[in-house]
Symmetry: C2
Subunit: 197 residues, 2 copies
Protein backbone atom coordinates (compact mmCIF):
# COMPACT_ATOMS: atom_id res chain seq x y z
CA UNK A 1 0.00 0.00 0.00
CA UNK A 2 1.43 3.31 -1.08
CA UNK A 3 -1.13 5.73 0.31
CA UNK A 4 -0.85 5.03 4.04
CA UNK A 5 -0.24 8.67 4.98
CA UNK A 6 -3.35 9.87 3.11
CA UNK A 7 -5.44 7.21 4.90
CA UNK A 8 -4.13 8.37 8.29
CA UNK A 9 -4.63 12.01 7.33
CA UNK A 10 -8.27 11.43 6.38
CA UNK A 11 -9.22 9.20 9.33
CA UNK A 12 -7.65 11.61 11.83
CA UNK A 13 -9.41 14.65 10.33
CA UNK A 14 -12.77 13.31 9.22
CA UNK A 15 -15.58 11.44 10.89
CA UNK A 16 -15.01 8.23 8.94
CA UNK A 17 -13.91 4.70 9.86
CA UNK A 18 -10.81 3.05 8.48
CA UNK A 19 -12.65 0.57 6.28
CA UNK A 20 -14.67 3.28 4.55
CA UNK A 21 -11.60 5.45 4.00
CA UNK A 22 -9.70 2.48 2.64
CA UNK A 23 -12.30 1.82 -0.07
CA UNK A 24 -12.16 5.51 -1.06
CA UNK A 25 -8.40 5.87 -1.03
CA UNK A 26 -7.94 2.71 -3.08
CA UNK A 27 -9.64 4.50 -5.97
CA UNK A 28 -6.79 7.06 -6.18
CA UNK A 29 -3.80 6.69 -8.42
CA UNK A 30 -0.36 6.83 -6.88
CA UNK A 31 2.56 8.22 -8.85
CA UNK A 32 6.26 7.73 -8.19
CA UNK A 33 8.54 10.43 -9.53
CA UNK A 34 12.27 10.72 -9.51
CA UNK A 35 14.20 13.72 -8.20
CA UNK A 36 14.02 16.68 -10.65
CA UNK A 37 11.01 15.30 -12.56
CA UNK A 38 7.91 17.46 -12.96
CA UNK A 39 4.25 16.99 -12.03
CA UNK A 40 3.30 20.29 -13.68
CA UNK A 41 4.94 22.74 -16.04
CA UNK A 42 4.11 26.35 -16.94
CA UNK A 43 1.19 26.59 -19.41
CA UNK A 44 -0.04 23.08 -18.69
CA UNK A 45 -3.46 22.64 -17.08
CA UNK A 46 -3.22 21.33 -13.54
CA UNK A 47 -5.73 18.48 -13.19
CA UNK A 48 -4.93 17.22 -9.70
CA UNK A 49 -4.24 18.05 -6.12
CA UNK A 50 -1.16 16.07 -5.13
CA UNK A 51 -0.88 14.62 -1.63
CA UNK A 52 2.75 13.90 -0.77
CA UNK A 53 3.13 10.37 0.62
CA UNK A 54 6.92 10.43 0.55
CA UNK A 55 9.59 12.85 -0.61
CA UNK A 56 9.65 16.58 -1.20
CA UNK A 57 8.40 18.86 -3.97
CA UNK A 58 8.47 22.55 -4.77
CA UNK A 59 6.11 24.87 -6.62
CA UNK A 60 7.93 27.71 -8.39
CA UNK A 61 7.82 30.26 -11.17
CA UNK A 62 10.49 31.61 -13.48
CA UNK A 63 10.61 35.37 -14.12
CA UNK A 64 11.43 37.24 -17.35
CA UNK A 65 15.13 37.14 -16.54
CA UNK A 66 15.10 33.37 -15.99
CA UNK A 67 15.30 33.57 -12.20
CA UNK A 68 13.38 31.00 -10.12
CA UNK A 69 11.00 32.02 -7.31
CA UNK A 70 9.71 29.38 -4.91
CA UNK A 71 6.07 29.73 -3.91
CA UNK A 72 6.00 26.67 -1.65
CA UNK A 73 7.69 23.48 -0.55
CA UNK A 74 5.64 20.32 -0.04
CA UNK A 75 7.13 17.62 2.20
CA UNK A 76 5.33 14.47 3.43
CA UNK A 77 1.64 14.93 4.35
CA UNK A 78 1.33 18.25 2.53
CA UNK A 79 -0.87 19.00 -0.45
CA UNK A 80 0.49 20.75 -3.51
CA UNK A 81 -1.46 21.99 -6.51
CA UNK A 82 -2.08 25.10 -8.58
CA UNK A 83 -5.63 25.95 -7.47
CA UNK A 84 -5.85 28.81 -9.99
CA UNK A 85 -5.24 26.40 -12.85
CA UNK A 86 -7.23 23.43 -11.55
CA UNK A 87 -10.28 25.29 -10.24
CA UNK A 88 -10.56 27.95 -12.95
CA UNK A 89 -9.29 25.70 -15.73
CA UNK A 90 -6.49 28.07 -16.70
CA UNK A 91 -2.96 27.39 -17.98
CA UNK A 92 -0.62 27.31 -15.00
CA UNK A 93 2.00 29.95 -14.17
CA UNK A 94 3.98 27.46 -12.10
CA UNK A 95 6.15 24.37 -12.13
CA UNK A 96 5.73 21.56 -9.59
CA UNK A 97 8.93 19.56 -9.35
CA UNK A 98 10.30 16.77 -7.15
CA UNK A 99 13.35 17.74 -5.10
CA UNK A 100 13.77 14.14 -3.90
CA UNK A 101 12.51 10.79 -5.22
CA UNK A 102 8.84 11.10 -4.24
CA UNK A 103 5.46 9.39 -4.16
CA UNK A 104 2.26 11.38 -4.51
CA UNK A 105 -1.43 10.47 -4.48
CA UNK A 106 -3.38 12.04 -7.33
CA UNK A 107 -6.67 13.57 -6.21
CA UNK A 108 -8.93 14.85 -8.98
CA UNK A 109 -12.21 16.79 -9.00
CA UNK A 110 -14.31 13.61 -9.19
CA UNK A 111 -12.61 12.20 -6.09
CA UNK A 112 -13.23 15.44 -4.18
CA UNK A 113 -16.87 15.23 -5.31
CA UNK A 114 -17.06 11.62 -4.11
CA UNK A 115 -15.62 12.56 -0.71
CA UNK A 116 -18.18 15.34 -0.29
CA UNK A 117 -21.00 12.92 -1.14
CA UNK A 118 -19.78 10.05 1.03
CA UNK A 119 -18.51 11.94 4.08
CA UNK A 120 -20.83 14.40 5.76
CA UNK A 121 -18.03 16.32 7.48
CA UNK A 122 -15.91 16.66 4.32
CA UNK A 123 -17.40 19.98 3.10
CA UNK A 124 -16.57 21.65 6.42
CA UNK A 125 -13.12 20.08 6.45
CA UNK A 126 -12.40 21.21 2.90
CA UNK A 127 -13.59 24.68 3.86
CA UNK A 128 -11.14 24.62 6.76
CA UNK A 129 -8.29 23.58 4.43
CA UNK A 130 -9.10 26.51 2.11
CA UNK A 131 -9.19 28.96 5.03
CA UNK A 132 -5.91 27.58 6.29
CA UNK A 133 -4.38 28.07 2.85
CA UNK A 134 -5.62 31.69 2.81
CA UNK A 135 -4.20 32.23 6.30
CA UNK A 136 -0.74 31.05 5.27
CA UNK A 137 -0.70 33.03 2.02
CA UNK A 138 -1.82 36.20 3.83
CA UNK A 139 0.87 35.75 6.46
CA UNK A 140 3.46 35.23 3.73
CA UNK A 141 2.44 38.48 1.98
CA UNK A 142 2.64 40.36 5.25
CA UNK A 143 6.10 38.91 5.93
CA UNK A 144 7.31 39.78 2.41
CA UNK A 145 6.03 43.35 2.83
CA UNK A 146 7.08 44.02 6.37
CA UNK A 147 9.51 41.55 7.95
CA UNK A 148 13.29 41.66 8.11
CA UNK A 149 15.30 38.86 6.48
CA UNK A 150 15.93 37.45 9.97
CA UNK A 151 12.22 37.37 10.89
CA UNK A 152 11.34 35.73 7.56
CA UNK A 153 14.01 33.10 8.13
CA UNK A 154 12.81 32.35 11.67
CA UNK A 155 9.23 31.98 10.46
CA UNK A 156 10.43 29.63 7.70
CA UNK A 157 12.24 27.43 10.22
CA UNK A 158 9.05 27.19 12.31
CA UNK A 159 6.89 26.32 9.33
CA UNK A 160 9.23 23.89 7.59
CA UNK A 161 11.46 22.59 10.43
CA UNK A 162 13.33 19.88 8.51
CA UNK A 163 13.50 21.40 5.03
CA UNK A 164 16.66 23.39 5.75
CA UNK A 165 18.52 20.10 5.81
CA UNK A 166 16.94 18.83 2.59
CA UNK A 167 17.32 21.70 0.10
CA UNK A 168 20.16 23.95 -1.05
CA UNK A 169 20.46 27.35 0.63
CA UNK A 170 19.77 29.07 -2.72
CA UNK A 171 16.24 27.59 -2.66
CA UNK A 172 15.61 28.78 0.89
CA UNK A 173 16.75 32.27 -0.16
CA UNK A 174 14.47 32.11 -3.21
CA UNK A 175 11.48 31.20 -0.99
CA UNK A 176 12.30 34.05 1.41
CA UNK A 177 12.71 36.59 -1.40
CA UNK A 178 16.25 37.49 -0.30
CA UNK A 179 19.68 36.94 -1.86
CA UNK A 180 21.76 33.89 -0.84
CA UNK A 181 24.29 36.38 0.58
CA UNK A 182 21.63 37.91 2.87
CA UNK A 183 20.58 34.45 4.00
CA UNK A 184 24.18 33.60 4.81
CA UNK A 185 24.51 36.84 6.85
CA UNK A 186 21.27 36.11 8.74
CA UNK A 187 22.42 32.60 9.63
CA UNK A 188 25.84 33.83 10.83
CA UNK A 189 24.20 36.57 12.91
CA UNK A 190 21.77 34.10 14.51
CA UNK A 191 24.62 31.68 15.27
CA UNK A 192 26.57 34.54 16.87
CA UNK A 193 23.56 35.55 19.02
CA UNK A 194 23.02 31.96 20.17
CA UNK A 195 26.73 31.54 20.93
CA UNK A 196 26.69 34.68 23.09
CA UNK A 197 23.60 33.69 25.06
Amino acid sequence: MYNTNLKTFLTSNLDIDEKAVLSLVEKCKVKKIKKNEFLLKVNEHCKHTFFVEKGLLRQYSIDKKGKEHILSFAPENWFVTDRESSYFNLPSSYFIQALEDSQVVLLDASFIQLLSEEIKSFTDFNNKLLHNHIRHLQKRINLLLSASAEDRYLQFVTMYPDILLRVPQTMVASYLGITPESLSRVRKELARKNFNQ
Copy 2:
Protein backbone atom coordinates in the same frame (compact mmCIF):
# COMPACT_ATOMS: atom_id res chain seq x y z
CA MET B 1 -32.31 50.72 1.62
CA TYR B 2 -28.60 50.67 2.27
CA ASN B 3 -27.64 47.24 1.00
CA THR B 4 -28.60 47.53 -2.67
CA ASN B 5 -25.17 46.48 -3.94
CA LEU B 6 -25.16 43.30 -1.85
CA LYS B 7 -28.62 42.40 -3.19
CA THR B 8 -27.43 42.86 -6.78
CA PHE B 9 -24.23 40.92 -6.04
CA LEU B 10 -26.15 37.94 -4.64
CA THR B 11 -28.90 37.81 -7.30
CA SER B 12 -26.36 38.05 -10.11
CA ASN B 13 -24.16 35.28 -8.66
CA LEU B 14 -26.63 32.87 -7.09
CA ASP B 15 -29.68 31.01 -8.29
CA ILE B 16 -32.12 33.03 -6.17
CA ASP B 17 -34.98 35.42 -6.94
CA GLU B 18 -35.03 39.02 -5.81
CA LYS B 19 -37.77 38.58 -3.23
CA ALA B 20 -35.96 35.72 -1.48
CA VAL B 21 -32.67 37.61 -1.46
CA LEU B 22 -34.41 40.68 -0.08
CA SER B 23 -35.74 38.81 2.93
CA LEU B 24 -32.24 37.46 3.62
CA VAL B 25 -30.36 40.70 3.14
CA GLU B 26 -32.80 42.60 5.34
CA LYS B 27 -31.54 40.52 8.28
CA CYS B 28 -28.04 42.03 7.94
CA LYS B 29 -26.88 45.05 9.86
CA VAL B 30 -25.51 47.99 7.93
CA LYS B 31 -22.84 50.20 9.44
CA LYS B 32 -21.83 53.69 8.42
CA ILE B 33 -18.29 54.71 9.27
CA LYS B 34 -16.49 57.98 8.81
CA LYS B 35 -13.14 58.37 7.07
CA ASN B 36 -10.26 57.16 9.29
CA GLU B 37 -12.51 55.14 11.62
CA PHE B 38 -11.79 51.45 12.22
CA LEU B 39 -13.83 48.28 11.74
CA LEU B 40 -11.04 46.15 13.23
CA LYS B 41 -7.86 46.77 15.20
CA VAL B 42 -4.85 44.56 15.91
CA ASN B 43 -5.52 42.01 18.69
CA GLU B 44 -9.29 42.32 18.36
CA HIS B 45 -11.29 39.29 17.21
CA CYS B 46 -12.79 39.81 13.77
CA LYS B 47 -16.44 38.72 13.93
CA HIS B 48 -17.66 39.70 10.47
CA THR B 49 -17.05 39.72 6.79
CA PHE B 50 -17.69 43.27 5.60
CA PHE B 51 -19.30 43.87 2.21
CA VAL B 52 -18.56 47.39 1.00
CA GLU B 53 -21.75 49.12 -0.16
CA LYS B 54 -20.14 52.53 -0.53
CA GLY B 55 -16.72 54.01 0.12
CA LEU B 56 -13.26 52.55 0.42
CA LEU B 57 -11.38 50.65 3.15
CA ARG B 58 -7.92 49.24 3.64
CA GLN B 59 -6.57 46.25 5.56
CA TYR B 60 -3.06 46.83 6.89
CA SER B 61 -0.47 45.87 9.47
CA ILE B 62 2.12 47.90 11.35
CA ASP B 63 5.64 46.48 11.69
CA LYS B 64 8.03 46.66 14.64
CA LYS B 65 9.37 50.01 13.42
CA GLY B 66 5.89 51.52 13.16
CA LYS B 67 5.71 51.33 9.37
CA GLU B 68 2.36 50.53 7.73
CA HIS B 69 1.96 47.73 5.16
CA ILE B 70 -1.22 47.49 3.11
CA LEU B 71 -2.52 43.98 2.52
CA SER B 72 -5.57 45.05 0.52
CA PHE B 73 -7.89 47.83 -0.52
CA ALA B 74 -11.65 47.26 -0.54
CA PRO B 75 -13.75 49.59 -2.71
CA GLU B 76 -17.48 49.19 -3.49
CA ASN B 77 -18.67 45.59 -4.03
CA TRP B 78 -15.58 44.05 -2.43
CA PHE B 79 -15.48 41.96 0.71
CA VAL B 80 -12.97 42.67 3.45
CA THR B 81 -12.30 40.60 6.57
CA ASP B 82 -9.51 38.89 8.43
CA ARG B 83 -10.31 35.25 7.69
CA GLU B 84 -7.53 34.03 9.98
CA SER B 85 -9.13 35.80 12.94
CA SER B 86 -12.78 35.16 12.11
CA TYR B 87 -12.51 31.53 11.01
CA PHE B 88 -9.91 30.34 13.52
CA ASN B 89 -11.09 32.65 16.31
CA LEU B 90 -7.68 34.25 16.76
CA PRO B 91 -6.68 37.82 17.67
CA SER B 92 -6.15 39.76 14.46
CA SER B 93 -2.79 40.95 13.13
CA TYR B 94 -4.48 43.64 11.05
CA PHE B 95 -6.36 46.90 11.06
CA ILE B 96 -9.36 47.51 8.81
CA GLN B 97 -9.90 51.24 8.37
CA ALA B 98 -12.13 53.48 6.24
CA LEU B 99 -10.23 55.69 3.79
CA GLU B 100 -13.44 57.49 2.81
CA ASP B 101 -16.82 57.85 4.53
CA SER B 102 -18.18 54.34 3.95
CA GLN B 103 -21.13 51.98 4.38
CA VAL B 104 -20.61 48.29 4.95
CA VAL B 105 -22.95 45.33 5.40
CA LEU B 106 -21.97 43.10 8.34
CA LEU B 107 -22.08 39.40 7.50
CA ASP B 108 -21.52 37.03 10.40
CA ALA B 109 -21.12 33.24 10.64
CA SER B 110 -24.83 32.69 11.32
CA PHE B 111 -25.77 34.61 8.15
CA ILE B 112 -23.33 32.53 6.07
CA GLN B 113 -24.88 29.42 7.65
CA LEU B 114 -28.36 30.68 6.75
CA LEU B 115 -27.31 31.35 3.14
CA SER B 116 -25.91 27.84 2.81
CA GLU B 117 -29.16 26.36 4.14
CA GLU B 118 -31.51 28.53 2.07
CA ILE B 119 -29.63 28.65 -1.23
CA LYS B 120 -28.57 25.40 -2.81
CA SER B 121 -25.88 27.00 -4.99
CA PHE B 122 -24.33 28.99 -2.12
CA THR B 123 -21.82 26.34 -0.99
CA ASP B 124 -20.35 26.14 -4.51
CA PHE B 125 -20.34 29.92 -4.82
CA ASN B 126 -18.61 30.36 -1.46
CA ASN B 127 -16.07 27.74 -2.53
CA LYS B 128 -15.46 29.77 -5.69
CA LEU B 129 -14.95 32.95 -3.64
CA LEU B 130 -12.38 31.16 -1.46
CA HIS B 131 -10.54 29.84 -4.52
CA ASN B 132 -10.57 33.29 -6.04
CA HIS B 133 -9.10 34.72 -2.86
CA ILE B 134 -6.33 32.09 -2.93
CA ARG B 135 -5.68 32.88 -6.59
CA HIS B 136 -5.20 36.59 -5.87
CA LEU B 137 -3.00 36.03 -2.81
CA GLN B 138 -0.83 33.54 -4.71
CA LYS B 139 -0.44 35.98 -7.60
CA ARG B 140 0.48 38.75 -5.16
CA ILE B 141 3.20 36.58 -3.55
CA ASN B 142 4.60 35.73 -6.96
CA LEU B 143 4.64 39.43 -7.92
CA LEU B 144 6.33 40.41 -4.65
CA LEU B 145 8.97 37.72 -5.17
CA SER B 146 9.60 38.14 -8.85
CA ALA B 147 8.18 41.25 -10.52
CA SER B 148 9.82 44.62 -11.13
CA ALA B 149 8.30 47.74 -9.53
CA GLU B 150 6.87 48.64 -12.97
CA ASP B 151 5.17 45.26 -13.43
CA ARG B 152 3.73 45.40 -9.91
CA TYR B 153 2.37 48.88 -10.59
CA LEU B 154 0.79 47.84 -13.91
CA GLN B 155 -0.86 44.85 -12.26
CA PHE B 156 -2.19 47.13 -9.50
CA VAL B 157 -3.72 49.51 -12.04
CA THR B 158 -5.49 46.57 -13.71
CA MET B 159 -6.82 45.19 -10.44
CA TYR B 160 -7.85 48.47 -8.80
CA PRO B 161 -8.45 50.82 -11.77
CA ASP B 162 -9.89 53.81 -9.87
CA ILE B 163 -8.04 53.56 -6.56
CA LEU B 164 -5.03 55.52 -7.78
CA LEU B 165 -7.26 58.59 -7.81
CA ARG B 166 -8.67 57.92 -4.34
CA VAL B 167 -5.64 57.25 -2.13
CA PRO B 168 -2.30 58.96 -1.48
CA GLN B 169 0.70 57.68 -3.45
CA THR B 170 2.37 56.58 -0.20
CA MET B 171 -0.42 54.00 0.25
CA VAL B 172 -0.02 52.67 -3.28
CA ALA B 173 3.73 52.31 -2.63
CA SER B 174 2.99 50.54 0.67
CA TYR B 175 0.69 48.06 -1.11
CA LEU B 176 3.31 47.42 -3.79
CA GLY B 177 6.11 46.93 -1.26
CA ILE B 178 8.25 49.68 -2.83
CA THR B 179 9.36 53.14 -1.65
CA PRO B 180 7.33 56.21 -2.67
CA GLU B 181 10.46 57.34 -4.57
CA SER B 182 10.47 54.13 -6.64
CA LEU B 183 6.77 54.55 -7.36
CA SER B 184 7.39 58.11 -8.52
CA ARG B 185 10.22 56.90 -10.83
CA VAL B 186 8.00 54.13 -12.27
CA ARG B 187 5.19 56.61 -13.02
CA LYS B 188 7.58 59.06 -14.70
CA GLU B 189 9.14 56.28 -16.76
CA LEU B 190 5.71 55.00 -17.89
CA ALA B 191 4.61 58.54 -18.78
CA ARG B 192 7.81 59.00 -20.83
CA LYS B 193 7.22 55.68 -22.68
CA ASN B 194 3.62 56.61 -23.48
CA PHE B 195 4.68 60.08 -24.64
CA ASN B 196 7.23 58.57 -27.02
CA GLN B 197 4.83 56.07 -28.55
